[in-house]
Amino acid sequence: MEAYILLTPSLIGFLLFLLAPIAGVVVISFFDWNLMGSPRFVGLANYREIAGDSEVWRAVRNTVYYVVLNIPAQTVLALLLALAMNRRMRGGKVLRVLFVLPWMAMPVALGIVWNWAFDPQHGVINQFLSLFGVDGPAWLSSTTWAMPVLASVNVWQYTGYTMLFLLAGLQAIPESLYEAADLDGAGPVQRFFRITLPLLRPSMFFVLVTNTIGSFQMFDTVYVMTQGGPGGSTDTMNFHIYQQAFQLFRSGYASALAMLLFALILLVTAAQVLYFRKRTVYDFS
């Protein structure tokens, strides 16, 4: 009974403002609807269309490619940063703020500034490279470079944020464990792999699950920097869904695409959960 009282406010929000609209999306995915006229029931037609839509599968590939570029780089960088910051140091607090700053950025302003930075001739990045005699590519006009650029911008934006959680996890590891390891004569590498990494797993789990879900739904950066180009090389699932829903007036099809993305994320998250469940040996509770 108490459980339900505690849950009530959250459940109201969950059922009314999350589940109900999602149920709506599921329903719409069986309709042909352009938002203006009345919806027409089409059964599984939207889903059948997905199967034969090569642009959708390109978007799936692009999304997976983006996640593969983004998540490992962001997680490793955040971990290194957290390890470096996990000590008493002068200016530590200031540094922490500076590292988390990118996460607070407003996408609109970010788009303007990053497009300047990657300008092939006047951009900071190519000007910097030219100091070393390197002729930088036209980053955002290149089908090879555009996606790595978007991934870098997102790594820039979320590394400090991710570090915050890992730093918190590091600080929860009891000092006594390290002291015991020191007595056993363990070197820094052994300490890291035997103590730090296993004990960090819970934090790592949260960070990986939520960041992966977020990465699969990446939208802002594509929207402000490339609009899916060049040559469709940065057309990710969520951007494709946006185009179908809000530029082409195809709500039904976009809803079906959202279901596909949902299934994809569910699959990957389930894999992560199984992996971590098997390996989480330390139990804090």
Binding site: G24, N34, L35, M36, D119, L140, S141, P230, F246, L248
Partner: protein
């Protein structure tokens, strides 16, 4: 949670939703107890908002029982929001409409036919340019009154033009052809200089290190670049209004190829990697950085050039092509929402915004040409005072023009053309192939 509870919840949610989908009522504006009607008016240009507020203040004075609230959202969000509102039948009473979206709206019945109102009020629509007025018409129904118009012309850097020994008159009189580029390319060669001071037609010209280009072009859909060349080459974007796309015809492909050649063959235009939408530099920025001597741009950007170049810019006509002169001619309208709870008052607003009195107020800001051509001179005078002769835009409007294509497939076209043609300008795809694929996909989307 047990299965049955979940089923009930899902059922309830679905029910609520379908109710939402099918119920047709809902009001947009509101009426207060003293009988004052409040209308909502949606626009997307922050620059024009102050002038519109002035015009609306005058309107409210004439109609003490009507209040108007302007709802400003950027172009990038305007349409998503409007569509969501239309889905919820809560769209604004009056809103800015663009030709790219108009056909779909007309087809879906969200735009009120103004013809009965025009007849009842005996409104004289001959004050508008017939080309503009007919752009908002389908099957004898009028879905908007012209708010403004725009054409494309050549904005040039005065200092650079002078240094190359050219005048505005000469710039307006150039012509191009597909064989050797004609006098247009010759002039652009004079205006293009590499880091050693050499021009593209000279031996030893280094196309990799160009200090100043003759021309800069940029457009997400063709309006400010190849549609103009296409018009000058006799290409029709559509077989007829509301018909099929025909951009794969030889006259169109030649024009596309010519625009591509300006960059990749003649090396007289800024590389696409610098100007391609959406991450490229905006044309006024290219001019401010002195990367180019001339740009093709729309009259809507005049204020941007003024703020970035003060009085060091002028406006010349576009060159003529193998078939002659030509430009893209377009404009916006004010549309009346069929779901408005106060159609009579909303019509009064639409009528006012289309009137000479209101348009005079907007013209004074110099932001857009007026929908009523007799006021064109006032626009010219505003800019004369600022030291710029903008008559090239209106000269062109009087000549051969191409309107924005009237089709229900604009959205598909816009998405496909941006990506395909960016690749053409970069040299990653052929003009022929890009034109064919965009044409085919756009036609498949015509409803």
């Amino acid at each position: 949670m047990s299965v049955s509870v979940r089923r009930i919840l899902a059922g309830a949610a679905t029910g609520a939703l379908l109710l939402g989908l099918t119920t047709g009522c809902g009001s947009s504006g509101s009426t207060s107890s003293d009988g004052t009607v409040t209308l909502r008016y949606a626009i997307w240009d922050a620059v024009q908002k102050p002038a519109l507020e002035k015009s609306i203040a005058a309107f409210e004075k004439q109609h003490p029982n009507i209040k108007v609230k302007i709802e400003l959202n950027a172009w990038a969000q305007y349409w998503s929001k409007l569509q969501t509102q239309l889905a919820g039948r809560t769209a604004p009473d009056v809103f800015w409409d663009h030709v790219a979206y108009f056909p779909q709206f007309a087809q879906q019945g969200v735009l009120a036919d103004l013809t009965p109102y025009i007849k009842a009020d005996k409104l004289d629509t001959s004050v508008y340019d017939p080309k503009l007025l007919s752009g908002w018409e389908q099957d004898g129904k009028q879905y908007g009154l012209p708010k403004d118009w725009d054409t494309i012309a050549q904005v040039y850097n005065k200092t650079m033009l002078k240094a190359a020994g050219l005048t505005q008159e000469q710039l307006s009189a150039l012509s191009w052809n597909t064989a050797d580029g004609g006098t247009f390319v010759k002039a652009l060669q004079k205006l293009t200089i590499d880091e050693n001071g050499k021009h593209p037609d000279e031996a030893g010209f280094d196309s990799k290190h160009v200090k100043q280009y003759g021309l800069a072009l940029a457009s997400p859909n063709g309006q400010t670049d190849w549609w103009n060349a296409a018009t000058q080459n006799g290409c029709k974007l559509q077989d007829k209004a509301w018909g099929k796309w025909t951009i794969d015809q030889p006259s169109c492909v030649e024009a596309i190829q010519f625009i591509r050649d300006l960059r990749l063959k003649y090396h007289v235009a800024v590389p696409a990697s610098v100007t391609n939408t959406p991450n490229g530099a905006a044309l006024p920025q290219v001019m401010a950085r002195k990367q180019a001597a001339v740009v093709w741009d729309g009259s809507w950007d005049l204020n941007a050039y003024q703020s970035s170049m003060q009085d060091n810019f002028g406006v010349a006509e576009l060159p003529s092509g193998p078939v002659g002169k030509g430009t893209v001619y377009n404009g916006l309208s004010n549309a009346l929402y069929t779901g408005s709870a106060h159609p009579k008052e909303a019509w009064e607003l639409v009528k006012w915004l289309g009137s000479e009195e209101s348009q005079k107020i907007i013209v004074a800001t110099g932001s857009v040409w007026p929908g009523i051509p007799t006021l064109n001179q006032e626009f010219v005078d505003v800019w004369k005072k600022k030291g710029v002769d903008v008559s090239a835009f209106s000269e062109e409007a009087a000549g051969t023009t191409t309107g924005y294509p009237l089709t229900t497939s604009s959205a598909t076209y816009n998405i496909k053309v941006l990506d395909a043609f960016n690749q053409v300008w970069l040299g990653q795809q052929s003009a022929q192939k890009a034109a064919e694929s965009v044409n085919e996909q756009s036609n498949a989307a015509v409803k």
